[in-house]
């Protein structure tokens, strides 16, 4: 064990091969190309196989990390996949979009002195190779079908996780999606260069293989109502309708043509395939000098999409500095490599338009960092009198979202918190309506894919327990 410890810490973390920045900025194909089997074996051998694995407790869905990594090291892909899928219904997604540095990898003991095991990359390696047919993906005997019907409203990460968990236990699950394509944020939000659409499609196929009925164009609160589902014989309902109304800056000129929410810009590109306009009918706004407001992962996605849509320049305007940016380090690095530039310590005052109502510039206020605020980050404050105009013809606002009112207004029995999100029981995920559960962004506000999945799993466990599916 001692020998291995030294060994593991000494082998450097295996780099992820990527498309070269100059090349990838011209396409929407995935940036990170994935480990080869040699790379995966080398990386897996770094794992210390801790008796009390901290990585696992850092994972919202408690993936059995050391166990699956041991199987990768042995070259037993079938077993590695089985272990992954036993707690995670979307491993190919998680391996790509989880903020591992804050979760499993952030807890990895190797990270104390050196670099943590690349758990996310290994997870992706197993999931991708399993679905490519490199191993047996049969999850063992299918559970006998129970007469327990469960409805999941929304088809993003929380709902799909809930659906997958319950279907694997034999429940008859129906997923209702409002848009024309299932997947929620995985499809309309996260760009294909980070999460290819065929990866999502495969995960959906895995659910269909468990007899999950996925219906599109069924809008929660409109085409499908919570009380009616219960009357129709669904024993439990899971609400995972995701984020809603985008937040805007609330400054003059915000409704000029050329000012978009990141949600709209990304939905056009991803769900509407605007990058393939006019082959697909949905266009995106052809801005040349693009300005992105916000500094989270969505802002990075929007900035990188704009580069790929042919922008001459993409500036991210942020009122603090790079050190305070909430986006994942890897996303910021990838964006910068692709030519996105950061404009730190600047805040927008007003948008400026031409006669036809199109955006031509933005007036910015120079900022400086003051004392730390409640979040521990230094509070940005304006530098008195220091304002300047920045030329831009496309502004993308990525400030987060508010709760979507559609299902909430149609379901007044649901107890909401001060911010308008659904109140749920900490341990079960149950809402104020018995046997109605909720999870994901409609409970927490905008958060991560994996946290939504954790919520879906928590609710699914309780539903399984309550209706004898275990």
């Amino acid at each position: 064990m001692e020998a291995k410890k030294i060994f593991g810490a000494k082998i450097p973390r295996t780099d992820m091969p990527c498309q070269a920045p100059a090349e990838r900025v011209k396409n929407f194909k995935e940036v990170a190309l994935g480990y080869t089997s040699e790379m995966a074996a080398a990386e897996a051998s770094r794992c210390l196989q801790c008796k009390k694995p901290l990585c696992r407790s850092g994972c919202p869905v408690e993936v059995r990390i050391p166990e699956f990594i041991a199987r990768v090291a042995e070259g037993n892909l079938t077993e590695a996949y089985r272990i992954l899928r036993s707690t995670n219904s979307l491993p190919a997604v998680c391996g790509r979009v989880c903020p591992q540095e804050k979760q499993c990898e952030g807890a990895c003991i190797l990270g104390k002195k050196g670099e943590p095991v690349a758990i996310g990359r290994l997870e992706r390696y197993v999931a991708d190779n399993a679905s490519a047919g490199a191993c047996d993906t049969d999850m063992g005997c299918a559970a006998p079908r129970h007469d327990v019907r469960v409805a999941c409203i929304g088809s993003g990460p929380s709902s799909l996780t809930c659906a997958g968990y319950l279907a694997a236990l034999g429940a008859r699950v129906t997923v209702f999606e409002g848009l024309h394509e299932p997947g929620g944020v995985l499809v309309y939000g996260i760009p294909s260069f980070r999460l290819p659409k065929d990866v999502v499609a495969r995960e959906l196929d895995n659910l269909r293989a468990l007899d999950v009925d996925i219906r599109t164009n069924w809008v929660g609160g409109r085409t499908v109502e919570v009380p009616r589902l219960l009357e129709e014989g669904y024993r439990a309902v899971f609400i995972g309708v995701g984020a809603g109304l985008p937040l805007f800056l609330d400054i003059p000129g915000e409704n000029l043509i050329g000012v978009f929410s990141a949600n709209e810009y990304l939905t056009r590109a991803n769900l509407g395939r605007a990058y393939d306009f006019p082959c697909y009918d949905t266009p995106n706004y052809p801005g040349k000098k693009v300005t992105v407001f916000g500094a989270g992962n969505v802002a990075m996605d929007a900035a990188r999409t704009a580069m790929r849509m042919g922008a001459e320049s993409v500036n991210i305007v942020y009122r603090r500095t790079r050190a305070e940016m909430p986006a994942r380090g890897e996303e910021i690095e990838h964006a910068l490599e692709e030519g996105v530039t950061l404009m730190e310590l600047a805040a927008p005052l007003r948008f400026i338009g031409d006669e036809s109502g199109r955006l031509s510039g933005v007036e910015l206020q120079r900022m400086e960092l003051g004392e730390p605020d409640a979040s521990g980050r230094r509070r940005p404050q304006p530098v008195e009198g220091d304002t300047f105009t920045h030329e831009t013809d496309l502004a993308i606002i990525a400030l987060g979202t508010r709760p979507n009112p559609l299902l909430l207004e149609a379901t007044p029995e649901l107890e909401l918190n001060r911010k308008g999100y659904i109140v749920t029981d900490e341990t079960t995920g149950e809402t104020s309506i018995p046997n109605v559960f909720a999870g994901g962004d409609i409970v927490t506000g905008a958060a991560t894919v994996i946290l939504a999945m954790g919520a879906g799993r928590k609710a699914a466990r309780e539903i399984a327990r309550r209706f004898g599916l275990e």
Partner: protein
């Protein structure tokens, strides 16, 4: 699940058609004021259309559209028995309809294909027991929509045509102005149609201090409160047409901004339509 076209009627050949769709799950809860989002085929763009009528018993909804861009051109190429790939709804807030105390009346003004959407609202007011005056206009008699349908239940139908071929000669605000001058019992005016028409109606009714509701046709992407494409300034505040509307107080709407925002993608829309008309084969081979 695609939605089948049960009945198609070319109201103005090549320009405007009416489709009756087999959509029981939408018809069940659709009310006046609601709209649906459609995507005609795999490469299509999502777009909103206001529901012109519903029949919960037969499980159908009716939509009426003006053939204008690529999406409506492709829709117009479909016939009875064909299916629209995606239709979802009902979306938006339903029209606020309440029984008015006699002798109060409501005037429902419609222009262009907006007459169809207005028809559903007028019907709602009629069902609530209100005295309904429909006020519709077109360039000439052959372009007039829904005159017969409205005549069936409206207490009065005021018609104007630009060329005087039917009803009063003039624009739709002319008979409305006439009426407002003569009749002090008009409690509310509802206007649905092209932006300039709704703006003209709102200007006119402001002079008379009559409550006015307009139904806006903003651009939308998802249509369910996710993207903000449809934002509009109402009383100086930004509202979302898809979840806060589509109906707003006509005296508070910034119509100039709305007009501009509707033109955001005009050059791309023109390109799409041009390519379609030229029979352009898509390079991916799917078209």
């Amino acid at each position: 699940m695609p939605t089948t076209i049960l009945h198609k009627e070319k109201l103005i050949p090549g320009r405007t058609s009416k489709l009756v769709l087999d959509a029981p799950h939408i018809a069940r809860t659709a009310k006046p004021g609601h709209f649906v989002m459609l995507r005609v085929d795999e490469h299509g763009e999502r777009f909103p259309l206001t529901i012109a009528d519903t029949d919960p018993e037969t499980g159908t909804i009716t939509i009426v559209y003006l053939v204008m861009g690529k999406s409506t051109t492709v829709l117009e190429e479909l016939d009875e028995g064909d299916a629209i790939l995606d239709v979802c709804g009902p979306l938006g807030k339903a029209t606020h309809i309440e029984k008015l105390p006699a002798p109060k009346k409501v005037v429902c003004v419609g222009g262009g294909t907006g007459v169809a959407a207005m028809h559903h609202i007028a019907k709602g007011h009629h069902k609530a027991g209100n005295y309904v005056i429909a006020c519709i206009g077109a360039r000439s008699q052959d372009l007039l929509l829904f005159h017969d349908e409205l005549s069936r239940f409206c207490d009065e139908v005021l018609v104007s045509t630009n060329d005087g071929s039917f009803g009063m000669q003039g624009i739709v605000t002319d008979p409305l102005k006439d009426r407002l001058e003569k009749d002090s019992d008009i409690a509310e005016v509802v206007a649905v149609g092209p932006v300039p028409m709704m703006q003209a109606v709102a200007r006119l009714t402001a002079d008379f201090g009559v409550k006015t509701t307009v139904s806006l046709n903003s651009l939308m992407v998802d249509g369910m409160g996710m993207c903000g494409a449809c934002r509009v300034s109402v009383g100086g505040e930004t509202r979302f047409t898809c979840v806060d509307g589509p109906e707003f107080d006509g005296h508070q709407v910034d119509f100039a901004e709305l007009s501009k925002r509707l033109s955001a993608f005009r050059s791309q829309e023109a390109l799409s339509l041009e390519r379609h008309k030229a029979g352009h084969a898509c390079r991916c081979g799917a078209h």
